[in-house]
Symmetry: C2
């Protein structure tokens, strides 16, 4: 990988998400050499991916070049690559662009979509964990409408403008709300020759409430907001299959749709090479102790979504969200310095700052540790927290400009099919009458 | 195409560029049915493509949804499709999504890159006429650097960080200047482990001056600006071939590079089906009379880059730029109404408002019909003219925010490889030492 040798110990970080970047920032000017690896050359602000998917924001507004973060850090290196495997015996990372020795390894690979083993759903549905995936969803939504205006057959047309989202966590809820707002504010005007009232947004949830990681109050409020916006919320329904046209469930319900967006689950983006015992089955997270040290290894750590630190309060590990990831990354920065200089490390304690979700214009729910609120004020809180969490002044300014514009004009101008998404076509067009 | 029949005559416009959009706006509320066809669902502000390619602006900032332009126009239709052929006898357009009858046809397909028949250059070089192409260039530039940091061999490394632009018209000049600024302000900092002084920007021109459609004064000023920024300007050199690694020329000069960006020529994006006599050979433009009527047809028109209206002042047609396109589109809007109601049409007269090009921060050249100036003030003029020419308030605001930021911070944050550009690899990597 063409990294110079150094007399300082080398820390290799895999992943430039919330956890990896928080750690990198902490290691600036510490007596370590740092190599940060990521398969993208930018950090993604994942909580706003749904706005990219629905044309509210441009991709560049929620991405930040990783090289810019570490630009002035001495003895810091970035390499654009995908890690295939770890060789813990030889202490090296095996990647597409070669191998790399580590003294300390930090796995911060985050999470990926979990289809729970259903290959057919995986093949036929869309997921939204990365910027290219969000842009694919954006293109597909718009392509569906462009295709629908061409069709005379109502059933075929409805197939294209029926959107089914599976999983009512924050991603599913926020995307459903954004789609409902697109329907009302934009699609109606953009496609006057289409009966937009036929457009459906179905949100399917296997559990008995939406946003089930939040308070009951927030679940109730969020569901009401969704229903008011015209989203059909289906609870206690588990999707069993999807062939690209028909969704079957564990009930009598079926859905006919060309578009299933799967936000029903995530799992750790695990890497081969670790001892099987350090992996939590099914969720593919890596078991770590209170110092984020991977069980069974002294010099390998895992932070963020990929790490499962089982505590009394969180017997299955912390929630897979930005906050625990950032906090773990920060603490590990200090702890690595401690470890290297032979001092004692500080155990991680999660400081729960609360959680929130937005459903649409003026509609959000906020759970603080001891207080819940929803509505317009919650929406303002949501907006400012997200605005200030973005890295970089320019991203803040551009997102703010966009939001003010979108709010005042009831508009989203990003409805551009820049790279068409080629979905297997289920209808064949015959040359139309002229 | 599922367009309802109308008792008004149907005008079909092919292309939503400067000419097509100007025409569409004029036809609002006129007693015609209008169908606008384009292969993208957005209008592209082409003069700023080079800023997308170099990370200064996001794609969405220079694109505008076509459906939003015509949103409230009665009896107006947009269809996303690529037109394959025209059947002038049957009066129909043959497209990917079916055929469409026209009463009046307006061809506004613009221009495409002209490789003057050299297939090998076409295969191995990049061009920059569309947003996806600009994003490909952006990805490739950054990928070159990411690849270069991995290489120990200096010759191979230099191959990757040597950029050759062929053609010193406005596109080539502006792109060369932007690359030179990237080198100075960003790449130096982003790639501290690379000797960025080895990065070359070569601008090759077959004629004896850059910007040869502008005044001599402007050519001289622009060349000085380029040279001061570190661009190597080669005049009177004609590129004869490029195999993906070596550029040969009509002189002894050769260039070793992984990246050739071809901005040396454009030609009309002609459509099959017109009488051969109406086409100007080599440049593939369509011969039109002073009403933009295609020679030999009463109800077919061509406007913008594709149209060649041979006048005393412009014996080879007007320059292929935004201004003539917009003016022709506007006038044709009036003329079509005249023609349909049996009244006399007004001949086109080009109102030359001047032309300009920017080379970099505080550096631009402006030619007004009777006055030339360059430098800081020219740059301000360039900036405000371009800012106000963008469609849409939001695009103006976002571009302005970006430019202010880029200016103050000497930065371009759009250096994101969102969709990697897969270029045929000319080096093979061996697993590096660790």
């Amino acid at each position: 990988m063409n990294i110079p040798t150094s007399n300082k110990p080398r820390v290799v970080i895999i992943g430039g998400g919330f956890a990896g970047i928080a750690l990198a920032k902490k290691l600036r000017n510490k007596s370590v050499q740092v190599v940060l690896l990521d398969k993208h050359n930018y950090h993604t602000f994942q909580p706003l991916l749904y706005q990219v998917a629905t044309g509210g924001l441009e991709a560049g507004s929620i991405a930040y070049p990783i090289r810019k973060v570490i630009q002035e850090y001495p003895d810091f290196y970035f390499r654009l690559t995908s890690v295939k495997e770890i060789d813990t015996k030889e202490q090296k990372v095996i990647s597409e662009i070669g191998d790399l020795h580590y003294d300390y390894l930090v796995i911060a690979t985050g999470s990926k979509t979990n289809y729970f083993g259903n290959k057919e759903i995986e093949r036929n549905s869309m997921s939204m964990k990365t910027i290219p995936q969000s842009l694919n969803i954006r293109s597909l939504i718009l392509e569906n409408f462009e295709q629908a205006v061409l069709l005379k057959d109502e059933a075929e047309r409805n197939l294209l403008i029926n959107f089914v989202l599976v999983g009512a966590g924050p991603t599913g809820v926020e995307l459903a709300g954004a789609l409902a707002e697109m329907k009302k504010a934009i699609l109606q005007k953009d496609y006057p020759d289409l009966d937009i009232s036929k457009m459906e947004i179905n949100l399917i949830q296997s559990g008995d409430r939406v946003l089930n990681t939040m308070s009951e109050k927030s679940s109730v409020a969020a569901e009401k907001f969704l229903v008011d916006l015209g989203v059909k919320v289906w609870k206690n329904v588990r999707v069993t299959n999807y062939d690209g046209r028909t969704i079957t469930t564990n009930t009598d319900l079926t859905f006919e749709t060309a578009t299933l967006i799967w936000t029903a689950g995530v799992q750790g983006a695990a890497i081969r090479g670790l001892d099987a015992k350090s992996l939590v089955e099914k969720v593919e997270r890596i078991r770590v102790n209170e110092f984020n040290q991977v069980k069974g290894y002294d010099n390998i750590f895992a932070i963020g979504d990929i790490a499962s630190m089982e505590t009394k309060e969180f017997p299955q590990g912390h929630p897979m969200m930005a906050q625990p990831a950032m906090q773990q990354g920060k603490l590990l920065g200090d702890n690595l310095v401690q470890l290297i200089s032979g001092r004692i490390m500080t155990p991680f304690e999660y400081n729960d700052k609360g959680s929130m979700a937005t459903i649409g214009r003026n509609l959000a729910v906020v759970d603080l540790p001891s207080y819940h609120f929803s509505g317009v004020f919650a929406w303002f809180v949501w907006m400012f927290v997200h605005l200030f969490s973005l890295i970089g002044f320019k991203n803040k300014a551009v997102v703010f400009t966009n939001w003010v514009y979108n709010y005042i004009r009831f508009d989203r101008e990003g409805r551009l099919i820049v790279r068409p998404y080629k979905k297997r076509s289920f209808t064949t067009f015959t040359s139309d009458e002229i």
